[in-house]
């Protein structure tokens, strides 16, 4: 499956397709999902390999394994934010100071973050990688997650945020492609985390 079909963003499909084709040959080493240890640790290693060096967000049980490591290891400098839009602001400040930030949030936090994404990141050209857990996926979750769970992909498309679901087999390639799009466009992109991936 190429990146063009995996990354869901209407306005960038052509570009994403090109990115995917460019990356088909000769870069398999950097595309492989490498790293020792648990899946959450390998995921963080992958992010660091791609230059991400500022971590903030609001926790979710679906990526609790990642937050556990971020909290336990001072070298990550993880900032536990009070709200998701505040995390987006923190990340924007870090970008302005020269870092490449990641914001972790539950998809409920996307709703909190709309104005930050639309009236800060998107108009100022401030890139950020959003790692968003998909509560309510497939309509199987607690009631408070069902509405956002059902509309999350439409919501990201409507905001024009390129996104890709985290699948272990293609994660290295997907993070590489998303990161390239994020840098080329200086816009937010999202990696979607389903239940069972990073707990």
């Amino acid at each position: 499956m190429d990146a063009g079909s995996r990354i869901g963003q209407v306005g960038l499909v052509g570009r994403v397709g090109q990115v995917g084709q460019e990356g088909q040959e000769g870069q398999e080493g950097s595309r492989r999902f490498v790293g020792a240890g648990s899946m959450p640790q390998r995921f963080l290693d992958l992010l660091e390999q791609h230059g991400y060096n500022f971590f903030t967000g609001v926790p979710c049980s679906l990526f609790a394994g990642v937050t556990r490591i971020l909290d336990a290891e001072p070298r990550y400098g993880y900032i536990s934010a009070v709200r998701e839009d505040s995390a987006i602001g923190l990340a924007a400040g870090a970008y302005l100071g020269g870092r490449q930030p990641v914001v972790f949030m539950q998809n409920s936090g996307l709703g909190v973050s709309v104005n930050a994404l639309a009236s800060l990141n998107q108009i100022y050209g401030i890139p950020v990688l959003l790692v968003v857990s998909w509560r309510g996926e497939g309509g199987r979750d607690a009631p408070e997650h069902l509405v956002m769970g059902a509309v999350m992909e439409d919501f990201l498309r409507l905001l024009g945020i390129p996104y890709v679901p985290l699948v272990p087999g293609t994660l290295g390639r997907d993070v590489e492609d998303l990161t390239r799009i994020m840098r080329e466009t200086r816009q937010p992109v999202a990696l979607i985390v389903s239940k069972g991936m990073l707990e």
Binding site: D85, Y95, L96, G98, N115, L120, Y124, G125
Partner: protein
Amino acid sequence: MTRADAVARVARALPAGCLTVACNGMIGRELYTSADAASRFYMIGSMGLASSIGLGLALVRPAETVVVFDGDGNVLMNLGTLGSVAAAHVANFYHVVFDNAAHGSTGDQRTISDCVPIEEVARAAGYRTAARVRGETELDAALAACFSVAGPAMLLVEVERGNVPGIKRVEIAPTEITARFRAVAARVSPEPASPRKHEITKHD
């Protein structure tokens, strides 16, 4: 003291080389009108997030002084960030809040800062210092010492309601604000400036 006068006085007292983040609305516009520089980041949208942006910046640039120009409406909109600032123990973070107990950019509708003393909230949250000043003399005296003590520090400045004439909108395209600010703050080469000016509307 008008807010525009207070903003200009604080701008004149800023330490050389400091990085400034200004909140949306009249405060950012007044700073832009009186003392524009590449080291100023004007947040024209995302109300409530100037302190978050300043905190992120202060964390990754610990050797620089970061000053946030904020308003009572902005602080109240994301009050939890006061806790984030305090918990991060950012010694290089200075929070100047221009408080007129009103939303000055939308017609001076009241906020609740006449009932909620923001500097006391900041002190309770864990800011190292937090002070309230009123009038030019108190402000100038406070500014003489403000940036030489370790932060996180808040200086709340009581200002009159109303807007003075001649305050411009921020005319720089947002992408250009980002590029020129990063050139100073992150010492990265400025990206090509966008030729178009930020589209200006009459709505706030």
